[in-house]
């Protein structure tokens, strides 16, 4: 939390310091859409906030992903834009982790189960239709991966013969999203 505050403060300071030149400015991308893969289509939403320097954007993103497991991705976001007025095309890449937004630890008399989010990543392309100097609406499509780590442990009576299932589920999906930026 402390690190996040420092980063946000740094962004604000940078934005203030460079306000005159407008080379660096705060930028935000917020989107909603769906992810689809081998499992049923699911809703996903994200917001990315950071700084924009010329055609580059770097920031921190947080979202919500309902694909198989309800998770909250937290990641670093990077974008490179190519301007073709009034449209801007961009490539994006996200990398980070994600946290379960549903029950992820439970016990029975015979076993216990823990589910944790592992890595989260996405990459794709998009296009922004500018509605102002720094505002616009955008559409994007890409490949999104999330990994889930499930550990089930228990004992066979007795004398406490232990067993453990260690499962890593990896979901590679297509994400389609639309949103606005400023």
């Amino acid at each position: 939390m402390k690190k996040i505050l420092i980063i946000v403060c740094s962004i604000c300071i940078l934005q203030h310091v460079t306000a005159q030149k407008k080379l660096i400015h705060f930028a935000s991308y917020t989107s909603a859409g769906f992810v689809t893969g081998k499992s049923p289509v699911a809703f996903a939403a994200q917001t990315e906030n950071g700084i924009s320097v010329k055609n580059w954007f770097a920031g921190i993103g947080i979202g919500y992903d309902k694909y198989n497991y309800k998770t909250i991705p937290v990641y670093a976001a990077l974008k490179k834009s190519f301007s073709f007025k009034p449209v801007q095309l961009f490539l994006y890449a996200n990398a980070g982790t994600h946290y379960l937004a549903e029950e992820h630890e439970w016990k029975t008399p015979f076993s216990s189960t823990t589910i944790r989010g592992q890595c989260y990543g996405a990459a794709g392309v998009g296009c922004t239709i500018k509605t102002g100097k720094h505002t616009g609406i955008f559409f994007a499509v890409g490949n999104c991966i999330k990994k889930i780590h499930i550990v089930e442990t228990g004992s066979i009576q007795p004398p406490d013969a232990l067993w453990m299932y260690d499962t890593v589920r990896s979901y590679s999906r297509i994400e389609c999203k639309a949103g606005f930026c400023f």
């Binding site: 689809t36 893969g37 081998k38 499992s39 198989n68 190519f82 073709f84 095309l89 490539l91 008399p109 015979f110 794709g124 392309v125 499509v141 890409g142 490949n143 066979i156 009576q157 007795p158 004398p159 013969a161 232990l162 067993w163 453990m164 299932y165 260690d166 499962t167 890593v168 589920r169 990896s170 979901y171 590679s172 999906r173 297509i174």
Partner: protein, 421 residues
């Protein structure tokens, strides 16, 4: 500019096409199954039998059932043998010896003879001098159904200990089909045998989890789905006289007057032993599929039902049964518990081991309105014998003794913790 745009659009189209490739859309799963399994260490039967005698005391590690006789406590070390504890001074019990009996989980004592299971066999041990106890007789095949972790002791060798190994294998996410090396239901019995008698008897007093019961010249032993009768008129040489097969799994046996109360995983069963050599089924009370030690007095039977791996079911309660009509016991009332196991009753005080909830002391003056008198925190309380104003409690971490001569001030008088001799 136009050329650059076309190049870019081409690159984006290519990227989009790659994304839609089958390889980019997949749900992958890697599942590993890690398990511990037991590898038996063998000795020849002759070696094992020759070694069944008192030896130096050993630390209590995995305490099981318990039997008291005179000033001695005989505490089962699950599948390893019997600790002999001199309890002349309950405030300072002394672990004085250990009898190594592989595969042992049950004990019964009459006069100076101790009967114990040795895997599939029954061994008789002379305990006239507990510090110099020695085996005097073996009856083979009394418990033929016993099997341990998939290994069956044969006639030439016996498992005297186990060592563990851990392996990891990859398995299917959809059908894990794990390889279990367990089974050891019998290994898992943290059980032990009876309601206390009020006077010293030639017969040792066991807890409610016992699978041995001694009545006069007969030893009754429950074994999987059978009640076996052994004539011990000649104490050193038990002889099987009869066997009653049952349609249910039998877990505990408790003798009261001319009856045997048998706890099975499907209910409580009452056998008539007016003809002691041939017990006959007198009545029964069915309940959910769970483990159920039972004790009884003239009018009521107290059955604790608990769930667990070997017991299945999800019921955890005390059932009080009206047995005034022994042919058809009637449920008087059920009381919820956490994980009730061994129980014992002395007068109006009912002692119930409730797993990690500890020992619960209840006022059972009115069986229809049993009330909690005191709860004593003990981790993994499993078996209790309340006798002569002292409650012996076997728990996961040792053997405890409580003085309940003043029921309003029950106090701990001694404890032998696991790991200590």
């Amino acid at each position: 500019m136009k050329k650059r745009l076309l190049q870019l659009l081409g690159a984006l189209s290519l990227t989009a096409m790659m994304l839609l490739q089958q390889g980019c859309i997949k749900d992958k799963c890697v599942k590993n199954y890690t398990y511990t399994y037991y590898v038996p260490l063998y000795k020849t039967s002759a070696e094992v039998r020759a070694n069944i005698k008192s030896s130096a005391p050993k630390a209590i590690v995995n305490p099981g059932k318990i039997t008291i006789k005179d000033n001695f406590i005989y505490l089962n070390e699950i599948n390893k043998g019997i600790h002999i504890i001199d309890n002349t001074n309950p405030a300072a019990p002394v672990n004085i010896g250990f009898i190594a009996i592989p595969g042992n989980v049950d004990i019964a004592i009459k006069n100076n003879m101790l009967y114990a299971d040795l895997y599939t066999d029954l061994v008789t041990i002379d305990i006239t001098d507990p510090e110099n106890a020695m085996a005097v007789n073996f009856v083979s095949g009394v418990f033929p159904e016993r099997f341990y972790y998939g290994y069956v002791a044969d006639s030439t060798k016996m498992i005297y200990d186990w060592t563990t190994k851990t392996e990891t294998v990859q398995c299917s996410c959809e059908n894990p089909n794990p390889v279990y090396n367990d089974v050891g239901v019998l290994l898992s019995s943290n059980d032990a045998g009876s309601l206390n008698a009020a006077v010293a008897t030639p017969v040792g007093i066991s807890g409610s989890l016992s699978r041995f019961a001694l009545v006069n010249n007969y030893l009754y032993a429950v074994s999987a789905a059978a009640v076996k009768t052994l004539n011990i008129s000649n104490p050193s040489t038990p002889v099987i006289t009869s066997q009653v097969n049952t349609n249910w799994m039998v877990e505990t046996i408790y003798p009261f007057k001319d009856k045997l109360f048998v706890g099975g995983n499907a209910g409580m069963f009452v056998f008539n032993i007016q003809n002691p050599a041939n017990p006959s089924l007198l009545g029964s009370f069915s309940h959910a599929r769970v483990c159920d030690p039972v004790i009884a007095d003239d009018n009521y039977a107290y059955v604790t039902l608990h769930s667990g791996t070997a017991c299945q079911g999800f019921t955890n309660q005390l059932d009080v049964l009206d047995i005034s009509s022994i042919q058809s016991p009637q449920l008087l009332r059920s009381y919820p518990f956490t994980s009730p196991r061994g129980l014992s009753k002395d007068g109006n005080l009912l002692f119930i081991c409730d797993g990690d909830d500890g020992l619960k002391v209840l006022d059972a003056a009115n069986p229809n309105g049993i009330t909690l008198q005191k709860q004593i925190p003990i981790i993994g309380a499993n078996e209790v014998i309340a006798f002569n104003q002292i409650a012996l409690v076997v728990a996961k971490d040792g053997l405890y003794q409580y003085d309940y001569s003043d029921r309003n001030a029950i106090k701990l008088i001694s404890a032998i913790k696991t790991g200590n001799p």
